[in-house]
Assembly symmetry: C2
Homo-oligomer: 378 residues x 2
């Protein structure tokens, strides 16, 4: 069902009621906490998380997408992830879906497909009027709830506070057997890397904001039209709302050796982090960057400001980056397309190396079309 884009004016709200331009600040925050020692995803080199050693892992930011904790009862494991951030699209319902899909994505990246519960973490903004709040918050809640339902789980609990900025996020929890989890540490030389969603969501969201900021728009209007930007934005919202659940399920079918999801550190940051967790001395070489149409051009025109072609542009609720045996990857991509209607791409190879990731010189840029999928999800 196509859902008409949320227009604040439909609700007699002022046009600029949601905090904007906060994604970038958020990511700066993540990077600085990184350096600061908490959330040390990049530095962690833990292996074998399904052992009692799990208990001695770093306090926060364990380096994998979800924590995996042995339980007291019957060979079961607790898999959990949490994430929260600020609105980056101006449709509250879609924002709720994206927040939910984004939290679940960390669980899916571990190959886990069954989620037992979600909690929702919300902050309303004290800068909203009562009317804005009563209009927006129920839409965010509904989007989050609908997405959880689509994932086959439900939202039982949460916390809401007030704060200067609106915050949306949640917690996903699965209690599962060992064979439901794919510990992301078994990449082998000769494997290939598959990506299940296109890159460029941050650029699309920003370019869309620039439509209302003449000084910014002036920088890119010679290379893209408003229609390009609107379509890319729709494609980005669509992509960010989409669950990685089918991808997670296919990881089992096609014997995936490792996986992560692509979010705040960009494709290269997450590939590099994943490489650091491998048991074998391997490295990842990315040769292809599938990018939402026209977003590479915008990035180049802005002197590479987003780092999109360097692989450092943040993504929200991005795709799975899956390490697959080379003879399984094509079938994985074909299957995901058959089940989801969306393309996945072989984007790199696993080589002998020092557990790092790189993008090759002059990677192939795949312009991912926007029109074919527009409006299908909502």
């Amino acid at each position: 069902m196509y859902k008409k884009p949320f227009d604040p004016l439909d609700y007699n709200l002022s046009e600029d009621f949601l905090p904007r331009d906060v994604l970038h600040r958020l990511l700066e925050g993540l990077e600085s906490t990184e350096k600061n020692g908490y959330g040390d995803k990049q530095n962690s080199t833990n292996h074998s998380v399904l052992t009692p050693e799990t208990k001695t892992k770093p306090v926060v930011g364990i380096g994998l997408d979800s924590c995996v904790i042995p339980l007291r009862h019957g060979e079961l494991f607790l898999v959990q992830s949490t994430d929260f951030f600020y609105p980056l699209v101006d449709e509250p319902y879609v924002m709720g879906k994206i927040a939910c899909a984004n939290v679940l994505s960390d669980i899916y990246a571990m190959g886990v497909t069954e989620v037992d519960n979600m909690l929702m973490l919300l902050s309303t903004s004290n800068k909203m009027s009562e009317k804005e709040r009563d209009t927006i918050m129920p839409l965010i809640l509904q989007g989050f709830k609908d997405c959880a339902e689509e994932a086959g789980t439900s939202v039982q609990g949460g916390q809401t506070v007030v704060n200067p900025w609106l915050i949306v996020g949640g917690v996903a929890t699965s209690v599962c057997k060992q064979n439901e989890v794919i510990i992301p540490e078994n990449a082998m030389i000769g494997d290939v890397l598959v990506l299940t969603k296109p890159l460029g969501t941050q650029v699309a969201v920003n370019a869309h904001q620039w439509l209302e900021k003449p000084d910014r728009w002036d920088r890119i209007k010679s290379v893209v039209t408003e229609d390009h930007v609107q379509k890319a934005y729709q494609r980005a919202m669509n992509s960010m709302s989409r669950l990685n659940k089918i991808g997670a399920s296919l990881m089992h079918k096609y014997n995936a050796h490792a996986c992560t999801d692509v979010t705040g550190f960009g494709i290269l940051g997450h590939a590099d982090n994943l490489a650091k967790h491998q048991k074998s001395e391997v490295s990842f070489a990315i040769h292809t960057l599938p990018i939402i149409a026209n977003m590479a051009l915008i990035s180049t025109t802005c002197n590479g400001a987003f780092g999109l072609l360097r692989g450092t542009s943040a993504e929200t609720s991005g795709g799975l980056l899956v390490v697959l045996p080379h003879d399984q990857a094509a079938a994985f991509c074909k299957d995901i397309q058959a089940q989801e209607g969306y393309q996945a791409w072989i984007i790199g190879v696993v080589e002998k190396g020092d557990r790092s990731a790189k993008i090759i010189d002059k990677p192939r840029i795949v312009e991912v079309p926007t029109q074919d999928t527009e409006g299908e999800l909502w």
Copy 2:
């Protein structure tokens, strides 16, 4: 071990670096979301949560302190709670402990004593300098982690963002068997109510802030000394940092019929909510209010501004309000004192009624001394 109170000046920080006076705004926010339909703790009348009907309960704010969800595997249940808020004491280490104890308290209120994992939810403030952040955040983390360790669990995961206000909170998760959970719905006529921590934390925290605000201090300086306020503040920090774990364990030993923990809605709000969840037609009558020494006087002097004697003053990481058979309550109190070194009080009775709670006219006020416990916890 006594820990010297955190003094920002020891770290060359400006004195007023932590957001203050935000607790009240926070609670306003909770109340307004209440009216708004999410977090409908007060209106919920669900029973029998250990059934498949659990899945159809309200989305957020299920009315009980923790959600209890049947799992796919072997008669196990997922018990989870989340909470986050703003700093209310100016020692970051203690703030971390309080945040952790507060999240765990919701689990303990269900009689569950074993917690399998915690996640930490943090926001640094973008109004902090880098130096303030690098000083304060590790102390908060350490306090949270130490408290989790004291509870016999650990912190494996979390999320950190930047935000105008500092936020501290977490998620507690337990996977447990049915007999570990005490569903709080079996209060019977003739039972009594026991409270395991004194009331008055909000008043103590505010009065302590008023030491630096002459116009506020002028209102109460005729009835209390600075020493009174300092001691009450220490007692409040001590109380808020203390785990309700022993209380939870004793609920099993003494056959508790129901329990909740006392937090943002005050003793009366939580008692009333608990009454609404009872299977039998009962009501709770509170005849005694144990209050940190001198805080009742402050509340009265301020024309009852906090609602402390009306039972509506918010508490943070408050005690357990336990419904016990009348012949077990004294033994429960004696046991908790023996194990913890802190007093618990019989504060009310369960009568035939319409599932509500009240405070009787002219309740007995117990002035809970501050000196005997000061400094014991840290």
